[in-house]
C-alpha cells in the first residue's frame, strides 16, 4: 500500500495495513507438501494407535512381560484412558509377548511399488499389528479371536504429490499352525478381535478367484477411497490397505503391491508360508528386525520415533475448572510431534546455539487456551516427551537448570513439592509482572527416559500449583501403567 501523507503515516491503522500488505515470498508448493506430510503422519498415528490399543490393555495386566514386545524400539501406543481402565477385558491376540518367528522382508521395491509411493517405515517384528492395519481397530470391547503369533508392517506414502493422499500399509500376520484359513475367514467375516473401521464392499479380483484372496473397498474421509487386498499364504495373511483419492488407483495399489509381497514371501522359504510348523527340519527365522523408517535418511523430522500413549487426565477432580481437550472441535488440543519442547508453553527452542536437541517423541494436550480463557480462568498444557535411551536424567537436569536446547523464556523459581523429593521431580513458578499477576506453575516428573510436564497459567498461585502437580501425578501414573519401555529403563 502506498502511503500518501504524513498524517496517514502517523495513523497506526494505516501503518498496520501497510505492514500487512507488504508482499511476502511464500513457498506455496513447500507449504502444501508439508501439510500433506503432516496429515499423513497424523493419520498414521491414529491408525497405529487404534491397532495397538489392545496391547496397552494387556500392559496394565502384565507390563513387564509386554516390555519384551517392544524390543524393536517402536512401542505400541496406548488407546487412551478408556483402554487403560478396560483392564478386565480379555484381549486374546495380544497375549503373546514375543513373536514366534521373524517375518522376512517382503516390502515391494522399485517397479513393484505402485502408484508412485515410496517406503516410509518398517515396524519390525510383532506380534501386535492388526491383520489389516490401517483399516481396523482392535479396541472394540467384547471381541475375541484367534491369537496371531507373528507380524510385521511396512508403510509407504507418496511425498511429492501435495494433497494427493496416497499411502499404503502392508502387513504380514502369522497364525498358529493350520489356522491360516480360519484367520482368513475371521478377517473377511469381520468376526475377529479387530474390527473394520468402515463398511467393506467386496470386489471381484481378476485371476484371484479363491477363498484365499479377498478384495474390498471402502470410503474413509472426504473423497478418499480405501482398498483392501488380502491373500492367505499358508498360515500367513498378506494384507495391503491403500488409500487414494479415487477407487481405481486405490485398487491398483492394493492388488499390485499384494501380488508383489506374496511373491517375495513365497520366495523367502518361511515355513509358515508353506503351511509348515517350526521344527528342526524347518527352522523358523528368529524375530529381530530392527524397526526403521524414512526419517533415518533425513534431518530431524516432526514425526515421532514411537507413539506416545494418550495419557491426558480427564478426571474433574484432577483437572478442576480447566476445559477438557476436545471440548471444542475447532481447537487443536492434541499435538504429536518430536519437535516440541519438554515443557510446552513457557519454553522456547529457537536458539540453535544451545546444546542438545528435540526428544525422540513428544505429545502435548492443551486444556483451553489464552484466547478463550476468561480473565479469571486458568489454562494448561500437558507435555510428554521421550528421550534416547539413558538420556532421561540429562533431559530432566536440563529442565531444572535450564541448560537444554529448549529454554525457559522467563526465570523460573524452584518450589518445594511435598511428597516428591529427589531429582526426578521438579516444581517451579513464575509470576507475571504485568497488572494481571498471572502465575505460571510447572511440574515435571521423570520416568526412565520419559518426562511428564504440566504448565498451568492461572490468576491464583495456589490453583496453578495444585493443577500442575495433580495433572503431572495423574499423567505420570498413566505413563507408568501404559508399560512403554522408555518409561521403564527399557
Amino acid at each position: 500500500m502506498k502511503i500518501d501523507s504524513f498524517e496517514e503515516m502517523h495513523d497506526v491503522e494505516a501503518r498496520l495495513r501497510s505492514l500487512y500488505d507488504a508482499p511476502v515470498p511464500f513457498d506455496m508448493d513447500a507449504v502444501m507438501a508439508g501439510a500433506a506430510r503432516r496429515a499423513r503422519h497424523r493419520r498414521r498415528a491414529r491408525t497405529v494407535s487404534a491397532a495397538g490399543g489392545a496391547l496397552v490393555a494387556v500392559g496394565v495386566i502384565a507390563a513387564a512381560a509386554l516390555a519384551a514386545t517392544f524390543d524393536t524400539g517402536h512401542p505400541r501406543p496406548a488407546g487412551g484412558p478408556a483402554s487403560v481402565t478396560r483392564r478386565a477385558e480379555p484381549i486374546q491376540g495380544a497375549r503373546l509377548a514375543k513373536p514366534l518367528y521373524g517375518m522376512p522382508d517382503v516390502a515391494p521395491r522399485g517397479p513393484q511399488l505402485v502408484g508412485g509411493v515410496r517406503f516410509f517405515s518398517d515396524t519390525g517384528d510383532g506380534p501386535g499389528a492388526a491383520p489389516a492395519l490401517g483399516a481396523q481397530s482392535c479396541q472394540e470391547p467384547g471381541r475375541t479371536g484367534l491369537q496371531q503369533v507373528a507380524s510385521r508392517n511396512w508403510s509407504f506414502s507418496k511425498d511429492d504429490n501435495h494433497l494427493d493422499r496416497r499411502e499404503v500399509d502392508l502387513t504380514l500376520t502369522g497364525w498358529p499352525h493350520g489356522r491360516g484359513s480360519a484367520a482368513m475367514r475371521e478377517l473377511v467375516g469381520d468376526t475377529g478381535e479387530c474390527a473394520f473401521l468402515h463398511r467393506q464392499t467386496p470386489l471381484a479380483w481378476p485371476g484371484h478367484a479363491s477363498p484365499d484372496h479377498w478384495l474390498a473397498v471402502s470410503g474413509v474421509s472426504g473423497d478418499d477411497r480405501q482398498a483392501l487386498a488380502v491373500t492367505r499364504v499358508g498360515d500367513v495373511l498378506v494384507t495391503v490397505v491403500s488409500t487414494a483419492p479415487n477407487e481405481k488407483v486405490a485398487v491398483q495399489m492394493a492388488t499390485g503391491m499384494n501380488d508383489a509381497a506374496v511373491a517375495r514371501l513365497r520366495e523367502s522359504g518361511l515355513p509358515a508360508a508353506a503351511g509348515s510348523a517350526c521344527s528342526a527340519s524347518t527352522p523358523c527365522p528368529p524375530a529381530s528386525a530392527k524397526a526403521r523408517d524414512a526419517r533415518t535418511n533425513g534431518p530431524k523430522a516432526l514425526v515421532n520415533a514411537w507413539v506416545v500413549p494418550d495419557v491426558h487426565p480427564t478426571d474433574p477432580v484432577v483437572i478442576g475448572p480447566l476445559p477438557a481437550p476436545g471440548s471444542d472441535p475447532a481447537v487443536v488440543d492434541d499435538t504429536q510431534s518430536a519437535a516440541i519442547p519438554p515443557v510446552m508453553g513457557p519454553q522456547s527452542c529457537q536458539d540453535s546455539r544451545r546444546p542438545g536437541g528435540f526428544p525422540d517423541a513428544g505429545r502435548s494436550w492443551d486444556y483451553g487456551n489464552s484466547m478463550l480463557t476468561p480473565p479469571g480462568g486458568s489454562d494448561a498444557t500437558l507435555t510428554v516427551t521421550g528421550w534416547s535411551e539413558g538420556t532421561g536424567p540429562r533431559a530432566m537436569a536440563d529442565i531444572v537448570h535450564d541448560t537444554g536446547f529448549c529454554q525457559f523464556v522467563r526465570p523460573m523459581r524452584t518450589q518445594a513439592w511435598a511428597g516428591h523429593p529427589g531429582a526426578d521431580h521438579w516444581l517451579a513458578t513464575w509470576t507475571d509482572t504485568a497488572a494481571t499477576k498471572r502465575v505460571t506453575a510447572v511440574a515435571v516428573t521423570r520416568l526412565g527416559d520419559v518426562l511428564v510436564a504440566t504448565s498451568v497459567t492461572s490468576p491464583d498461585r495456589r490453583t496453578a500449583v495444585r493443577l500442575a502437580t495433580s495433572m503431572t501425578d495423574d499423567a505420570a501414573g498413566r505413563v507408568r501403567a501404559s508399560g512403554i519401555p522408555a518409561a521403564q529403563g527399557r
Binding site: 497506526v12 501503518r15 501439510a35 496429515a39 472426504g222 522456547s348 536458539d351 478463550l372 498444557t381
Partner: protein
C-alpha cells in the same frame, strides 16, 4: 444438496490468503508457513466435516486462529526472536526514503509482538482480512464486544509503544 468443494481446489484458491493472515498474526514467514501447514494437516483429516460447513472459509479461518493460539509455545517463542530474524524475510520496498519506513515498520513489528494473542489476531483479521466485527468474533470464538475491546486496546497499545514523529517542524 450442496456439493462439497474439492479439497485441493479449495486449498489452491485459499492458500495465499491463509498465508497472509498467518503472517499478519505471527509476524514471521517461517512461522506463518508452519502455522498454515499445521492447519491444513488438520483440515485434510477433517475435510468431510469442514467442506459441509456453511462457510468453509470462516471455518478454516477459525481453525487457523485457534491453531496459532493453541500452540502457545509460539506465543512465548516470539519474545526470543530478534527483530532482525523477524524482518529478515520481509520484502524491502524500493523507493526513496524506504530506510525510514523500514525503521518504522520494525518498530511496528516489535510493538505487535508485545501484544497478547487475542489482540494480535483481532488486528490481523480486521486490517489484513478486512473482516467485520461479527466475522472476527466468529473466528475468535468470542463476542462482538470482546472483539471491539481487543482491537481498541491493541491499537491503543501500538500507539503508546511507537514514538510520535517530530511534529514541531510542521506545526504553524
Amino acid at each position: 444438496m450442496r456439493s462439497s468443494p474439492d479439497l485441493e481446489a479449495w486449498v489452491a484458491g485459499a492458500l495465499p490468503r491463509l498465508l497472509g493472515l498467518a503472517h499478519a498474526m505471527t509476524g514471521s514467514r517461517a512461522e506463518a508457513e508452519d502455522l498454515v501447514q499445521e492447519t491444513l494437516a488438520k483440515l485434510i483429516a477433517s475435510w468431510g466435516r469442514a467442506s459441509s460447513a456453511d462457510h468453509v472459509d470462516a471455518y478454516v479461518r477459525r481453525m487457523l486462529v485457534n491453531t496459532w493460539i493453541s500452540h502457545r509455545r509460539r506465543r512465548w517463542t516470539r519474545e526470543l526472536v530478534s527483530h532482525a530474524v523477524v524482518t529478515a524475510d520481509r520484502a524491502v520496498p524500493s523507493f526513496p526514503g524506504h530506510g525510514d519506513l523500514l525503521g518504522q515498520r520494525e518498530e511496528l513489528v516489535g510493538a505487535l509482538r508485545g501484544l497478547p494473542p487475542r489482540q494480535r489476531a483481532a488486528l490481523a483479521l480486521r486490517y489484513y482480512d478486512d473482516l467485520s466485527d461479527t466475522a472476527i468474533a466468529e473466528a475468535l470464538g468470542c463476542s462482538v464486544g470482546a472483539v471491539r475491546t481487543s482491537i481498541h486496546r491493541g491499537l491503543r497499545a501500538l500507539r503508546a509503544s511507537m514514538p510520535a514523529p517530530e511534529l514541531s517542524e510542521v506545526r504553524p
